[in-house]
Amino acid sequence: MKKFTKVIMSGAAVAAIGASMAFGLVGCGGGDDELTVSIEGSTSMEDVMLALTDAFEKKYEAENEGVDITFDTAFTGSGSGVQAATDGRVDIGLASRALSTEEAKNLESKTLCLDGISVVVNPACTLTTVTKTQLINIYTKGTAIEAEGAKIDGAFRRESGSGTRDGFQEKVGIEDKDIYQGTGFNEYNSTGSLKSAIVADEAGTKLGYISMGSVDKTVKALKYDAEDGKGAVEATKENVLSGDYALSRPFTICYKEYDSLSALAKEFIDFIMSEEGQEICEDEGCISEVLHNAK
């Protein structure tokens, strides 16, 4: 009898664990319906994407009365966004860089707009211009930049995988493996933390690069000389579009297959690529190639 009880009890224990697991799994798995578009990806694209979703929601709900649509957004990073789109967990993935060849195998993608990259220093620094050679030397060999009465002895960078870093290094011509990593050459994992490090550098001895949209009074953007005969060019939208200012990166949207998306998701993609959507991107500080080409 005792033995039997033991057998039954251990059986019950296993069953209970199984049941709790099953319960857990049933509890998992959210509802997906036709009135929701899920988006995940780059933190840098958050502002522009939210402006686009807000505008679309307003427009759609005005056209279709009584219909309530939802955007499930998660701004976690380009890698997570592309991964989620590849896994089919979200409708649209966002990457603040071009897709890698590996990623592009399974996904369709579009360039939503461009984002300029500014080289910034503390306003206390007297430097106003930086050349391609200077940037390459400081980022790969740690060579200090001494010009215009300023001495820059350290350069901050973003973490590997960051779209800003990819865009910057690709355009300037710096390889990941050559990066100099001595004292004063720190790595930051967000625009905000890099910017605050530049702000804290009151002696004005460091430089770094951030998205053009994040430049404000607390930092100073430098002119960039790409050494292509155009001389030092100011970091402005117009110069990015004309191609004179070389430092920029694409904001990319990606999805599995356009045809397999829900009607709502298709309509949303069409909206953001339309002139109306692109104007919103411009308002948010991005640079629209579509509008530029149309003109």
Binding site: M9, G30, E103
Partner: protein
């Protein structure tokens, strides 16, 4: 008995047997075993799922290339299959993590042990309670606040004082980390010091030793096993810390050959590169997590061995070494008539003061920053509207943070409480003391408690997010947090259950109540204090958590329409986002201030609850009696009353005749000693 014998001859699976086996008692027992075994399941699930996601990286890179490779140059074109063009070697990160942990534990351990000795033996009685609360408060401060305190405040000071180009690196991160691990080490060292039998202290004094000699030569060595455990736990805490060191290490892939070289540790690499990583890069970050997990498992085995030693009072490697050392020192020290111990006494006071100063500096820093007006608008971010106004993505307020935090707490407690209390009931009420199964469960509960939150985050992302398809959602975050708080609930409930006198169980059983009923009606209400304390501690843990939630609950500023299925940021994730976006520094500090106030509030609630229950034990009128009234089944109540016995009376008489424990006696003795001293003065 006769019946049972008869049934043995019958075939095993009969209707009657089933009916007999599925009694309420047996079913309940089975359920409790299952709940207790859940911790084992959870630890294995974490190991298996993190490993399964790491295998592609190990295969592609090669396990030894990964561990012993020095270059870390991820290439985003590297897929999970195909050619590898980047370099993925983590040796420098491993060495950095070890150096950082070593330094932090060395400094933090010394601070903590001296502080613990100060609190137990030297602290004036009136200050003792305050000191204990300060240590608890320090334990409650979220690591993200330490991180920003380090970058915004200490970094500049280090840069100027040491005349360096940049203040980040090994020195800054180990300084902050050592303060962070003080509470972990101090609280356990304090417990083991308090458990040193009082007659050691008295005996030593009676032999003519001074108080300082007694404390440092008799009491501290007697508590050494506990102190070693405390230090090992500190190692686990330090090596797993991610959020704070992320901002302080500087992010260069170097060997820690200088104090100011930018570095990457295992944890900071994961948290820093996670969001943009894809393909092989992401898999290799999970593989770093797995290596970290192996470190944690090794630390737990070490801890377990120390505890085994303790249980046997035996002398395997650890104890023997220490004894040898002692013998050598003995002759040396006695010649100098205790001067060394007097120095240690002064040091313990100095170190305790340092800990308090560090805590106060962090708090003052956050408060001051929260009330500095915004440079552009000239306004303070901490307004009524920021706290309770409607939130939008362009103008976020703390309303959603509150809602998200509450929902995550709700899910975590709904799942974690039954699991934890059930496991504690099994361990204390059903299991044979010292049985192998119990030992295994304890080992796994301890292991679960030692798993760093970043590993929980990775596991939650893989299991709840990917396998269950929950993605980033409050539910996923809540379920992950249920695992995080499980050990806390099991431990403190078990502690509370073990303090319920056996006579109460015996009385209940003697009155004819079944075991299940005894547990739920008699024992559990008595353990209410422990359960409530564990709930509050769990809430504190969830409120301060960041690394585990970013990967599971996501980071949305608004309340999603999908309820539990939508993503949501808690207070800590808010701070992280505010800083990362670089637009709302003032709001980040305002949120940090609110978070700090919540941590203080939670600590105050713990104290109030404990005080209320203590008072209740002396005069059982309030909470306990009310609880009994609400929960007592009429039949049992009648039985109790007709028997002329009320449980509250049993409780009271039981306590009044109880022999004071060693701890209580020590308190009494210390007080008397203090009085004698005062008179002498």
């Amino acid at each position: 008995m006769a019946k049972a014998k008869n049934s043995e001859k019958l075939p095993l699976f009969t209707k009657e047997n089933f009916a007999n086996a599925f009694t309420k008692e047996n079913v309940a027992r089975g359920i409790f075993i299952a709940l207790a075994a859940f911790s084992i399941l959870a630890v294995f699930a974490i190991i298996i799922f993190v490993l399964s996601e790491s295998i592609p990286a190990f295969k592609q890179i090669g396990f030894f290339n990964f561990i012993f490779g020095q270059e870390w140059v991820p290439d985003r074109n590297d897929g999970v299959t195909g050619e590898v063009s980047g370099s993925y070697g983590i040796l420098r990160m491993i060495v950095t993590s070890i150096a950082l942990t070593g330094l932090a534990v060395l400094v933090g351990g010394i601070l903590a042990i001296f502080t613990a000795v100060f609190i137990v033996y030297y602290c004036p009685k009136k200050l003792k309670g305050i000191f204990n609360q300060l240590i608890n408060l320090l334990a409650g401060i979220p690591s993200i606040i330490f991180g920003y305190f380090g970058t915004s405040f200490l970094e500049g000071i280090f840069r100027d004082v040491f005349n360096q180009s940049s203040g980040v690196g090994l020195l800054l991160s180990s300084t902050v980390l050592s303060i962070m691990i003080v509470p972990t080490i101090a609280s356990i060292a304090k417990n083991s010091l308090e458990n040193v039998p009082m007659h050691y202290y008295e005996g030593s004094l009676a032999l003519g030793n001074t108080r300082n000699q007694t404390v440092w030569k008799v009491c501290v060595p007697a508590a050494k096993n506990g102190i070693i455990s405390a230090v090992i736990l500190g190692v686990g805490r330090a090596i797993g810390e991610a959020m704070a060191v992320l901002f302080l290490l500087g992010g260069g892939n170097n060997f820690p050959s200088s104090f100011f070289l930018p570095l990457k540790s295992l944890t900071s690499a994961i948290i820093s590169e996670w969001s943009y990583a894809g393909g092989l890069h992401r898999q290799s970050l999970i593989a770093i997590g797995f290596i970290l997990l192996i470190f944690i498992l090794i630390i737990n085995v070490a801890l377990w061995m120390v505890k085994q030693n303790n249980a046997m009072a035996g002398n395997r490697f650890f104890t023997r070494k220490f004894r040898e050392g002692e013998d050598r020192e003995k002759t040396f020290n006695y010649k100098r008539t205790g001067s060394a111990q007097d120095v240690l006494w002064i040091l313990s006071i100095i170190f305790a003061v340092i800990v308090v100063v560090a805590l106060v500096t962090v708090i003052v820093f956050v408060v001051v920053q929260a009330f500095i007006p915004n440079a552009e608008t000239g306004e303070i971010a901490l307004t009524w509207d920021f706290l309770f106004g409607e939130s939008s993505n362009s103008d976020p307020t703390l309303g959603p943070a509150m809602a998200h935090t509450l929902l995550i707490i709700l899910v975590a407690l709904l799942v974690g409480l039954p699991l934890g209390i059930g496991a504690a009931i099994y361990l204390n009420e059903y299991a044979k003391r010292g049985s192998k199964f119990v030992k295994v469960i304890r080992l796994f509960v301890d292991t679960l408690a030692g798993v760093p939150s970043i590993i929980f985050g990775l596991f939650g992302y893989i299991f709840f997010g990917m396998y269950c398809g929950l993605g980033y959602s409050l539910l996923s975050g809540g379920l992950t947090m249920a695992l995080v708080i499980l050990p806390t609930i099991i431990r403190s409930t078990e502690q509370a259950l073990s303090e319920v006198p056996d006579s109460m169980r015996e009385a209940s059983l003697a009155l004819g109540a079944s075991k299940v009923r005894t547990i739920f009606v008699v024992v559990l209400p008595q353990a209410l204090q422990g359960i409530i304390t564990s709930i509050i501690l769990s809430v504190g843990r969830i409120v301060g958590e960041s690394a585990a939630l970013i990967y599971t609950a996501g980071s949305a500023y608004v309340i999603g329409k999908g309820g539990l299925f939508s993503p949501g940021a808690t207070f800590t994730v808010y701070i992280y986002r505010f800083f990362n976006e670089g637009k709302h520094y003032d709001k980040a500090y305002a949120t940090a201030f609110v978070l700090l106030m919540m941590v203080v509030l939670i600590n105050v609630i713990v104290v109030v609850v404990q005080w209320a229950f203590e008072r209740d034990k002396e005069k059982p009128l309030g909470i306990t009696l009310l609880w009994r009234k609400l929960t007592r089944k009429p039949a049992l109540a009648e039985a109790a009353i007709t028997d002329g016995g009320d449980f509250s009376q049993i409780n009271v008489s039981d306590q009044s005749v109880a022999i004071p424990t060693d701890e209580e006696r020590k308190h009494i003795d210390l007080e008397e000693e203090q009085e004698v001293k005062n008179e002498e003065n």
